[in-house]
């Protein structure tokens, strides 16, 4: 068995497979299916300081090799998370990270301050890339100035590992990645969903109540790989790659492009056990290609 452990800033991951925010609930929804502690970590549902009821429905459209969603950060707020959900997550012997979002910088700070007090939460993923909220979310992630403002502000109040999640809905992701690194990010995760749209030709109406939504699934994998590769060249901090990973081979491609760890998202809906299969498949790949450890293949793309 190869050494699958990897370190991202202060996070010690037993293996490089995490679950993507919004696709794994709080982990507890998967307890029936698998031992969550076997994963490198989980990133729980996007959390905001105030409760959010999310967007109107329909919120989902299946597409060719993927799906659109427009959930809109439905959650019960950081205080409810801390008092009612967090105690149920202490049982997990793995990294539990909270995806932190907001409409204003003050909301990001207030949410991160609450999460900072929770001992078992080993890091946050700062979500400046949600395409489904009217204010905040992605709008923070599309200019260098706003990235600097929100990332440096949260950095002041959050001491543990801070991963900044980037949006692909930009022209030059390398430049924005550098802004996040410069402002204090310990790591970057990418990509969030791509803004997309579905239309019902029969009714001549948009499928989603919000008209547009975020595209995920294998349809976006080539874009995600390209962006991880671009960002890997632009920054020195470790990357967490995601976007359409459905199996171990997909995951390996992200490591080669420059990701130190990966997140599995939409695939969890189709196969709740897919993360364990991916961990096993990564190990088989490393053994087959005679690598001793996962870090040996990070960024090792032959050109």
């Amino acid at each position: 068995m190869a050494d699958l452990s990897i370190t991202i800033h202060k996070l010690k991951l037993k293996n490089p497979v995490l679950t993507a925010s919004g696709t794994f609930g709080y982990g507890i929804e998967y307890d029936d299916f698998l031992d969550v502690s076997l994963l490198g970590g989980i990133v729980v549902k996007g959390t905001t300081i105030h409760p959010r009821q999310g967007n109107a429905y329909p919120r989902m459209a299946e597409t060719a090799s993927g799906m659109l969603n427009s959930v809109g950060l439905q959650n019960r707020g950081a205080r409810y998370f801390a008092s009612d959900i967090y105690p149920k997550l202490i049982k997990y012997k793995t990294n539990v990270l909270v995806n932190v979002s907001g409409s204003t910088i003050e909301e990001y700070i207030a949410c991160a301050e609450i999460i900072n007090e929770l001992d078992h939460i080993t890091g946050i993923e700062l979500n400046i890339s949600c395409p489904n909220v009217k204010e905040g979310g992605m709008s923070f992630g599309t200019s260098c100035v706003s990235i600097e403002n929100v990332v440096s502000a949260v950095r002041k109040v959050y001491q543990k590992t801070m991963i900044v999640k980037l949006t692909p809905n930009v022209t030059d992701i390398g430049e924005l990645a550098r802004a996040a690194e410069y402002s204090g990010a310990d790591s970057l995760s990418l990509i969030n969903t791509l803004l997309g749209m579905a239309i019902n030709a029969q009714t001549r109406k948009p499928v989603l109540a919000t008209i547009t939504g975020g595209l995920s699934g294998p349809a976006i994998k080539p874009i995600a790989l390209r962006m991880v590769w671009e960002v890997a060249k632009a920054v020195k901090i470790p990357l967490v790659g995601m976007g359409g990973i459905m199996n171990a081979t997909d995951a390996i491609e992200f490591f080669l492009a420059g990701a130190s760890a990966i997140q599995v998202g939409t695939a969890n809906y189709i196969d709740p056990l897919i993360t364990l299969k991916i961990i096993e498949g990564i190990d088989l790949y490393l053994n087959h290609h005679k690598f001793n450890k996962i870090s040996d293949i990070v960024g090792c793309l032959h050109m």
Binding site: Q53, G217, D271, P272
Partner: protein, 259 residues
């Protein structure tokens, strides 16, 4: 029972009419308790245009043969592929999912009202209740007699009434126009309904007018089926709730239906 992901063997695939199939799926081990109203999310294999699983109500359960049955109407590529799965091949299934209908007291008079593919979840309820109650009334509506494929099964469990839109079987018209719903509703203490939403709303309105307990089983597009994607929400008096985990069965008083 806890939720599981399992490969189930297709041991029977009966074509009921042009576009309806009844598949009997066998679990490898002893089947654990499944409650009426629960559903399964089936993987569509070898169908490149289909990305997500397809949810189906569990139509009937056999604890001796260790099988669950699903009633599949061919609507698109995914349902077509599943409906045509050959006997002895396997379908990957996540089950049991969702909540279930409230089981009535033995003395109560019960009416089930179903239409379209919605009859599937009522079948498992009728099966369960027939062990407990002397007589249940089952009202089924369809477009035409050719669509009323499951009547034989229902008549084992209760007294069946039918309507068809073209008048080829039972009363002509919509299910909500049937005399039982119009004139004889007062005799029932509970109504359970599943079918097209306009039908369930009309049934719910009659139940509310007559102050009768009423549960409906909702349908929605789902990505996961077990409460993590938050895509299949419906509006309730407590805000948005997931049809997959808070439902699919809701008491009509929980729903924000203007009826």
């Amino acid at each position: 029972m806890r939720k599981t992901v399992q490969n189930l063997k297709v041991i029977e695939n009966i074509q009921l009419n042009d576009d309806h199939h009844l598949l009997q799926l066998q679990v490898p081990d002893q089947l654990e308790m499944i409650f009426p109203g629960q559903f399964t999310n089936l993987l569509v294999d070898h169908s490149p245009g289909v990305f997500l699983r397809r949810p189906f109500s569990i139509y009937s359960v056999d604890y001796i043969k260790n099988t669950i049955s699903v009633f599949i109407k061919e609507i698109g590529e995914g349902t077509r592929a599943l409906a045509q799965t050959p006997v002895n091949s396997h379908i990957n299934s996540i089950f049991p999912l969702g909540n279930s209908f409230t089981i009535p007291k033995e003395s109560e008079k019960i009416l089930l009202v179903g239409g379209g593919s919605g009859v599937a979840s009522l079948m498992s309820l009728a099966q369960e209740l027939s062990n407990k109650l002397n007589d249940i009334s089952i009202l089924i509506g369809a477009r035409s007699s050719a669509d009323l494929v499951e009547l034989d099964h229902f008549s084992r469990y209760g007294t069946v009434y039918t309507t068809t839109e073209d008048g080829t079987k039972g009363e002509k018209g919509y299910v909500t126009d049937h005399y039982i719903l119009k004139n004889q509703l007062g005799q029932f203490e509970r109504i359970y309904s599943c079918g097209p939403e306009p039908m369930m709303r009309a049934v719910a309105a009659k139940a509310r007018t007559n102050s009768i307990f009423c549960e409906v089983s909702l349908e929605n597009t789902m990505a996961c089926g077990f409460g993590v994607c938050l895509c299949c929400v419906t509006e309730t008096i407590e805000g948005y709730k997931c049809v997959c985990t808070d439902g699919p069965v809701f008491n009509i008083n929980q729903l924000e239906w203007q009826i």
